[in-house]
Symmetry: C2
Subunit: 260 residues, 2 copies
């Protein structure tokens, strides 16, 4: 196993809807993008390029949602958007809605936020299909740079059960398998490692976050030295990392359906 290097990409401009994100990344990261590189892009850049922005002023609030919003002391328009983006509300208290999004991610406020959105009442929603976003960026980056194979991870900072703080996790993946399956692995005494399946896409997303400052705009980070895991095909995306409620042992059990 070789040494991994993790390099922030500097000089990216503010991203606006319709911008060619792959072109901008290729221009700013030309030196860092080598065969086998993993290009990690924060969700917010992808969402902005894809136009996943919403003005609070354009949101109509239902009566049920207005009641829920009062109970969690949040702007009813924001709560309406959070619910629209959610398949299920896991918990609603202390001003936070823990949601399962339509994609299947469990996170606070359906991954929606207002920071760095460029206007005080402008929301940034998660991409509609982060795996598709990652596949598109991977294809475009390989075409524009002529460097292959590459992998792309679209990430976001999520809170977790039982531990404070946030870590970046993968929302979309292309060009590598999101975890290393346990089949065939054995420990050093030859005992099978049945339970061990490192979620490498999440560990890569977290590693990329280490070289960013939230206020610094380093939304793209390139990891090199991990080429043994870069497959040369899109792969299964992030799906294998998403655990259904029925399979979950660590998280909450009781559910509330989102209000209509």
């Amino acid at each position: 196993m070789t040494t991994l290097t993790i390099t922030p990409v500097e000089g990216l401009p503010e991203i606006a809807p319709g911008d060619d994100l792959a072109q901008l990344i290729a221009r700013c990261a030309a030196d860092a993008i080598v065969p086998g590189a993993v290009v990690c892009v924060v969700q917010k850049l992808v969402s902005k390029a894809e136009g996943r922005l919403l003005d609070l002023a354009d949101v109509d609030v239902s009566e049920t949602v207005a009641l829920l919003a009062a109970s969690v002391d949040r702007d009813p328009r924001l709560v309406q958007v959070i619910l629209d983006e959610s398949a299920e509300i896991i918990r609603a208290e202390r001003g936070v809605l823990i949601c399962r999004t339509h994609h299947g991610y469990v996170c606070a406020n359906a991954g929606i936020d207002q920071s760095n959105a460029g206007a005080d009442d402008r929301l940034v929603l998660l991409p509609l299909d982060p795996d598709a976003s990652a596949r598109g960026l991977r294809a475009d980056l390989e075409r524009i740079t002529g460097v292959a194979p590459l992998a792309v991870i679209v990430s976001d900072s999520f809170g977790r059960a039982w531990r404070t703080g946030q870590v970046d996790v993968a929302l979309g993946v292309a060009g590598l398998d999101p975890s290393v399956p346990p089949e065939g692995l054995a420990d050093r005494d030859g005992r099978p490692l049945a339970a061990s399946e490192p979620a490498i896409a999440d560990e890569l997303a977290g590693a990329a976050d280490l070289v960013r400052t939230k206020s610094g705009g380093q939304g793209v980070v390139v990891i090199s030295g991990y080429g043994d895991h870069v497959t040369g095909r899109d792969g299964p995306g992030v799906g294998p990392l998403l655990r259904s409620r029925a399979e979950d042992l660590f998280g909450a059990r009781e559910a509330e359906p989102p209000p209509a």
Copy 2:
């Protein structure tokens, strides 16, 4: 922000109780240990050096535990040890006990396992105080190598709520703050980032895991380029990352007390 490099340390021998782990690490990682380096050590090496090993043959099983063991289809002696190491059982099903250990970590089987323990009925328990282990290693490594400041993270692979696979997280930390507090941070539009507190100790632990293979024995990994966060003092340890049940929004609520 500079580039981060993540280097596995090769050549460490099998660790046995009483071994001077810091001395062995210093010998094998001499080139990688530079001022500001973060030395990441897997829990199993620390536990072995500290003698946290137990033979299943030496375990007495209580009647209550025998019943629980039957219900989860596990060796009653193993279940007895898991319960002895736990303050609380969060869930028991499908052969897995999700525990809150006496330290406050929520993980499967109280972090105990049999892999790489060196004998089929030998268990490796978590260190009694991983923060103390990290502080000891930090002091010893700085003294032996003459290189300072260093940080040390003791890590383990944990499952998580809502997502499959495992990621390495920090069990013990010395020489850096485990998260970057949000105070004073603002986004690029000057809006306060109240909710954002990256759990850097966990992201570092996960990053280190990327250059290991479970069967390869690279239990020590050195991360350089992160010196801006290495404080030159032990710091608060991992405590600030541990969320109490009352504060937890993502995890399970209902509890079962461990059987007596």
